[in-house]
Amino acid sequence: MDTLQFLMDGFAVALTPTNLLFALFGAFIGTLIGALPGLGPANGVAILIPLAFTLGLPPETAMILLTSVYAGAMYGGRISSILLNIPGDEPAMMTCLDGYPMAQKGKAAEALAMSAIASFAGSLIGTIGLILLAPVLARFALTFGPAEYFALFMLAFATLGGITGKNPMKTVVAATIGIMISTVGIDIATGTQRYTFGVLKLYEGIDFILAIVGLFAISELLFFIEERAGAGRKMIKVGKLMLRPKEILAAVPTMFRGGILGFIAGVLPGAGASLGSFISYTMEKQYLGKKAHFGDGDPRGVAAPEAGNNGAASGALVPMLTLGVPGSGTTAVLLAMLISLNITPGPLMFTQNADIVWGVIAALLIGNVLLLLLNIPLVGFFVKLLSVPPMYLLPIVTMVAFVGIYSISHSAFDLYFMIAFGVAGYVLRKLEIPMVPIILGMLLGPEMEKNLGHALVISDGEWSILWASPLALGLWIVAGLGLILPYIIGPILRRRMNNAMKESPTSD
């Protein structure tokens, strides 16, 4: 069993005291990030990237830190769903349906504990799936030529909007803008200066970390100012924890099913954690039928979506690690970290940077145990922090973003750039242009161009090579479907999700 051997090596990396400490720190910060309003997981990981850099962390430690933050954020999202009926991030939306009614009945502590256990189960299932599937997929991906890679990138962009996405054309626009930004600077292949306008600062291209922090953190601040949501909201008191082992055992099959469904949704392009939690919830509701009272504060209604979205979070790492093609915003940000660390993502990473890949996977397992241990006793503390109103929190977060960016290059010029990206991000988000494809475009642009170039050199300028092999053609077809399906299925699925929200009597 090669995999087992690698996993053991991974544990050896992840269990060194420094790495363990960073995993713990990441898990803690991640839960905070997930719990706090206005700080989604992608946003939180983005702000931490410059810090990981300036601390001069070795690559595996930096990745372990960020992966733990990612896992933690998925845990944290449920806290505000249950206590405030406001999802901390989108995947936590389904948790509101039964979590909030439970909290209203004075069972907030039980709901929080149940969701922590379900998150753990979902993550565990997802991570086991990742361990089994990733090496296989990586081996398969080694057979990809440049044409297949080019098609794969197209697929990644086409499905990024998700099946529930609103206007796929806006995803196309966003991705193209991102790729265009990536072409600024000196062309690696020929040395031609492109779009530098003689500005020295632009010769090396535009740093995507600035762009990511600007697009996420700064635009979020502007949104909060617009919505005047500075004061925060009242929340439900958390009572004493009275969860009986019987109740947990009753929910174990639910967690198991939710975790598996979530993992599958996470691996598939274009589905992601939101769909993972949605599918887990609705399937479970149908499966249990009259035996459960979903929507009315059934603990299993909390367990299913939580297991689903955490399973999906681990699943989403599969395409990111094996193909270098992330399926969600947060994994895109993790990819940015890898590229900044000079690690070429993709199947070769499994052989060339095995210590990093397996260290991260092992850290994910350890992180989950840490998260479960952190979450049950510390839930009161997280709840207290949740009551910090955003009007104090967001300015501080913005300041941390400034510090991070400044400490990379010690130049005020970069800060102006970041602000400009923030303002642009605000305007584009108002126009419903999604941010993630822009970032993914900036990250994948250079690789796309390289693969296009290689493919055309091989074929001596014959463009048809791009869809000549059956595999490449298949990828193109799926990419095409990814753009067309949202027009057909999207409205139906969206309506169903809305109906599910409406059916529950407590949601407004």
């Binding site: 300036t54 601390l55 609103k166 206007n167 054309m169 806006k170 196309v172 626009v173 193209t176 803008i177 790729i179 265009m180 072409t183 062309d187 292949a189 020929t190 040395g191 031609t192 492109r194 779009y195 700064i218 601040l221 502007l222 909060f224 100012i225 617009e226 005047r228 500075g230 004061a231 955003p390 009007m391 104090y392 967001l394 300015p395 501080i396 913005t398 300041m399 941390v400 400034f402 510090v403 400044y406 400490s407 005020a412 800060l415 102006y416 602000i419 923030g422 605000y426 108002k430 126009l431 419903e432 242009i433 796309m448 161009e449 296009l452 170039g453 055309l456 050199v457 001596d460 300028g461």
Partner: protein, 148 residues
């Protein structure tokens, strides 16, 4: 007009696409003669894609979202100005002073009472400064508070 936002965006992007594509055609041939794939191939492709999708936006725009006007709009502009001033003053005034000012101003504009806004700014500035300069040994500019 209910769909002005997308139309304006579409026109702007179309202009960008044309300019972007046009600039790409003007680059000198790389040393060693032209190949099938030059530095302009990929940008040209991108310009075409962006051009077509911006035409789509102009023809089939989504309904407008509400744009902040009046006071909210002014608040947003003000906070952008605060951020820009923060970046501008970070080095001359030093981290602690500029951060105190910027964070307090933002907290205050988001609705905090002036005193608590100021305290938040001051405390967060000092904590982060001490943490970075002494614990993590990354130097943030001391500015006016430089003693050496």
């Amino acid at each position: 007009m209910t769909a002005r936002g997308d139309r304006i965006l579409g026109i702007g992007l179309l202009v960008l696409a044309v300019a972007y594509g046009w600039v790409a055609q003007g680059w000198p041939e790389p040393f060693g003669g032209a190949e099938t794939v030059g530095p302009e191939t990929f940008p040209t492709l991108l310009a075409v894609v962006l051009g077509l999708s911006s035409v789509y936006l102009i023809l089939k725009p989504d309904p407008d979202t509400k744009w902040p006007m009046g006071r909210t709009g002014a608040e947003i502009l003000l906070s952008i100005v605060i951020l820009a001033l923060y970046a501008f003053l970070l080095e001359p005034l030093g981290f602690v002073i500029s951060t105190t000012l910027a964070v307090s101003a933002l907290c205050w504009r988001m609705g905090a009472r002036p005193v608590s806004a100021f305290l938040t700014g001051l405390i967060s500035a000092v904590v982060v400064f001490v943490l970075f300069n002494y614990a993590l040994e990354l130097s943030l500019p001391a500015g006016l508070l430089e003693f050496e």
